[in-house]
Each structure stands twice: as C-alpha cells, then as structure tokens.
C-alpha cells in the first residue's frame, strides 16, 4: 500500500444557506482544489457524499452533476456514497485506500447537504429513515430518541443520578459552543451556559434542545493523493496514518447502548493501522450529534474507562486547554451537522489543526489527530487518524 496524504481542504460556512447542494459543493471543492496546487482537470475520481438530496431538492444521482460543476474531466468516475451521518468519512476511507492501492493518484472527496432547508418535521422524518424502517421507525424513533435511550441506560448502568449526568452533558454543550464561538465557519458562534441547556425545551427525555446538534446546510471537500505527489504540491502534507470502519444492525440488536461496539472495532483497526494508541492522540473531532454521544465516544477510544468519561468536560479535561482536546471546531453541536458534509468537515478541522492554522482555537503542537463519525442508530462507525509528519 502506498502512503496517502491530504493536499488541501475546503468547506462552506455551516448554517442556513440559500445555495443549492451543488453550489455549496462547488465552493468547498474549488477551495480544496485551489489549496492543493492542482486544477480540476488533474482530479481522477470524485467520491461524493450526500444523504437526503431527493427530499431536500428532488435531486438524486448528484455525483456526476457535482463533477460537472467543478469541471472535473469526464474520465473521472463520480460516485455517490451514503452512510447516513458518516457519509463523507466513509467516502474518504474508500478514496484513501484506492489511492493507496495505486488505482488513482489524485482524487477529490467530500459531501454536501441541505438539511436545514427541509424544516424540522420533514428533516426529523427523513433522518429517521436511517433507522430500521420495519422494526424501529414505526415506534416513532428519532435520532434524539436513540441517544436519549443511551443516556438513560448510562445513568442506570453506572448508577449516576440523572440530574448529575445531565449537568455533565450540559458541560459538553457549553464547551463545544465556546469552541464554535472561535470558528468563523460554525453554524452557532455564540457561547451558552449550563442554564441555557437545562432550561431548553425537552426534545427526547432526557435530551433538551441544547443537548442536540442542529440541522445545517453546508459542504466540505478534501483532495487526497499519493504522498510523494502531495509533497511536491504543498508545504505541509497531512498523512493518513490509519483508518477503521465497522457496521452493526438495528439498535435493539446492540443491547448495551452505553457501548458502541462498532466504534470499538473501528477504532481498534485505526489504532493498529496507525501504530498508535489513545495516549498518542493530540486532538480529536468526534461525533457529538448529542451531548451524551461525546461521552460515549471518548470512552470507546480509551481516553477514559467505561463509565468514567461523563464528567470530562465538567472538569475541563476535554476543553481547548485540557489534556485531551475534543471538538475544537465546535463539533456537530456548534459547528453544525449537514450530514453528508460532516465527515470531510471533521477531516478539514483536523488537517488545519495539524498545520497550525486554527488561530484562537489552535491546539498547540498537535501532531496526531483523530476523526470519528457515526452513521444512523450506531449502524456505521468510521475513524480516520491523521498525522503531520
């Protein structure tokens, strides 16, 4: 397998956009291509992420149109990936392995989504299509509901008073909104307090509005290439050190929702491939679609023992000045969550962190970063470990 690196990254501001999926993707894609010192004609394939285009804009089969927007050559296959919220992370993993295998030298990976454009009711319905449609959706399951059930199970299993767990979850939201306030491309750039979270409307008991990430519009893209080629193109190649992906069935089959088993398998593969362990990770962008989700993830990664990670944000260990910086971008919680674009936006943040380009939210001296994206109700997990040298 050849060494693979990232040459350039791009993303739109996340939030509410008047632009179409393709227009947003063109902005992100051109930023990534220009930042890589290449031209659209040099791109040999497009790995394109979008989940809900048919419901957002009546648009399926978006990948070839996206290639056309960017002026990619007709010889570059443009293929859509869909893995719910993990869509563009999964696209990235497949792209990186194909570059590693020598099938392509330079490719573009990314995603786009107009989740906010659907409105809350249709967005909630179509997001819920990521659950099992015969055996889960008829119960009225929503994604907040999935993580709400995980939160209740966590409190029960570890015998933590629910009020205490909720306060600790609120601290995750406060931290990630603070980080988002330092990120000019975040959906939300305003600080909040614990009271903001605990006074919010209830969405799915025990999750309140500010425990939940928003529906966002946005796009992101990265140029992936063979490492020597990247070295010729840009000053600071960011290398793909290791990757993992794992899959699980319906939520009820997973039984203990405090342990996301697919994540445990995915991260083990990524650590092994990279030859690193939890102690080596300097900065992490993980799937905080809900506050409890961040707590589950940091335990899966081995940053904390199971049942011991819930107060990490409260005691400041995962903040920008903490020992394990989690979601410096603001995470899904504050940066926003245009589902098909989320994965490559997480990769964009880690690349910029490892290049030292993040200004007020820069994690000093970060050399190894971890990306984590969860799709559906624990059905798809994908992890990418990047390093700066």
């Amino acid at each position: 397998m050849r060494e693979v690196a990232i040459a350039g990254v791009g993303m739109t501001k996340f939030g509410i956009s008047e632009k179409s999926n393709l227009e947003m993707f063109a902005e992100a894609g051109l930023e990534a291509i220009e930042g890589s010192g290449v031209e659209p004609k040099d791109i040999e394939a497009l790995f394109f992420g979008n989940c809900l285009g048919p419901f957002e804009e009546g648009q399926a089969h978006m990948a070839p149109f996206a290639a056309s927007e960017l002026g990619l050559p007709m010889s570059a296959p443009a293929t859509r990936f869909e893995a719910a919220c993990a869509t563009s992370t999964v696209a990235f993993r497949h792209a990186a392995y194909l570059v590693g295998a020598g099938v392509y030298d330079i490719v573009l990976v990314g995603g786009t989504e107009r989740a906010a454009a659907m409105g809350t009711s249709l967005a909630t319905r179509t997001f819920a299509m990521g659950s099992q449609s015969k055996y889960e959706s008829p119960a009225g399951l929503t994604f907040p509901g999935v993580f709400a059930m995980a939160a209740h199970m966590y409190a029960k299993k570890y015998n933590i008073p629910l009020e205490e767990l909720k306060r600790c979850m609120a601290e995750v939201a406060v931290k990630n909104h603070y980080n988002g306030s330092l990120n000019p491309r975040a959906h939300f750039q305003k600080e909040i307090t614990v009271d903001t979270v605990l006074n919010g409307m209830m969405v799915a008991d025990p999750l309140q509005l500010f425990d939940c990430c928003p529906f966002s519009d946005g796009a992101s893209a990265v140029v992936v290439a063979e490492a020597n080629k990247v070295g010729d193109l840009v000053k600071q190649p960011i290398y793909v050190a290791g990757m993992g992906q794992a899959s699980a069935g319906a939520l009820y089959l997973q039984k203990d929702l405090t342990r996301v088993r697919a994540r445990e398998i995915s991260i083990r593969h990524a650590y092994d491939e990279a030859g690193v362990g939890p102690e080596d990770i300097d900065v992490c962008e993980l799937h905080d679609c809900f506050t409890i989700a961040e707590i589950l993830a940091i335990e899966s990664f081995g940053f904390y023992d199971f049942g011991k990670g819930y107060d990490a944000a409260l005691i400041g260990e995962t903040g920008l000045k903490g020992k394990k910086v989690i979601n410096p971008s603001g995470g899904l919680k504050a940066k926003g969550h245009p589902i098909g674009a989320t994965g490559t936006a997480q990769i964009t943040e880690i690349v910029q962190q490892l290049r030292g380009e993040c200004g007020d939210r820069q994690v000093e001296g970060a050399k190894i970063g971890l990306v984590d994206t969860l799709g559906g109700d624990f059905g798809t997990l994908c992890n990418i470990i990047l390093r700066s040298s």
Binding site: E136, G140, M149, K156, L207, L253
Partner: protein, 133 residues
Amino acid sequence: MSYTLTFSQYHEGLKEGKFLGLKCDDCGAYTFPPLGVCSNCGSSSMQVTEIEERGTIRTFTVIRVAPEGMTPPYAIVIVELEQGPWVMGNIVGLNPDQLNIDLIGRNVIMGSQPVKGDMFTREDIRVLTFHVA
C-alpha cells in the same frame, strides 16, 4: 435460499395476536423480529416459532419532537424478552409525562398496535407495544 420468515408473514402474525420469530436449529437462540440468519450464531437453519410476551424494560425515552406524521408525546422502550431477544416498541397504558428512570427494570407484556403509514411506508405498520405487567 428462501427467506425463512418475512416481514409480511411476521406482520400477519401480529394482526392475529401472534409473535412469530425464529428458533435456531444449531444454537437454540431465538431471533425476533426476524432476520436472515440467527442473531446469535449466524446459522440459516431456523424454525418459525411463537415468541412469549414477557420481558423487562432496559431503557426508554419520551419523544417530544416527532417525525412528520407522528403525534408527541409518546414513549419508546427497548425491552429484553425472557426468551433472549431485545426489541423496540412503544409503552402503552402509562402517561408519557409521568415516566422516570425507575421505568427501567419494570416487567412488561408485549402486544402490538397499528401505526398509520405515510407516503414513504405506503401502508399501515403494526408496532410492538408494552404494558407494565
């Protein structure tokens, strides 16, 4: 190889008050609702059997922001059946606004009720329901 117990057959069973599942010929585990192979060992050698209704609540939530077409509030539970399978459904017979974490661990009896279909499901689908034993 033909699918042993389809959703359609399972769903017809629910209409008749039967909970059709699968018993594995190799390991003896029950798979409910149905899958292509045994959820425990992966064997495709399974027999259709009726599943017993008793179980215990393992977690729950009350949905207050619902998908299009659903009317909140309503409670969703995950239940461990006495025969082993874990299943998802709705709590009936309790006020959703009066539920708290003490619901976890309560014994329940399984039933089912129809849910109105929408343009995506195209037909009504029965959902598993649970009432406290």
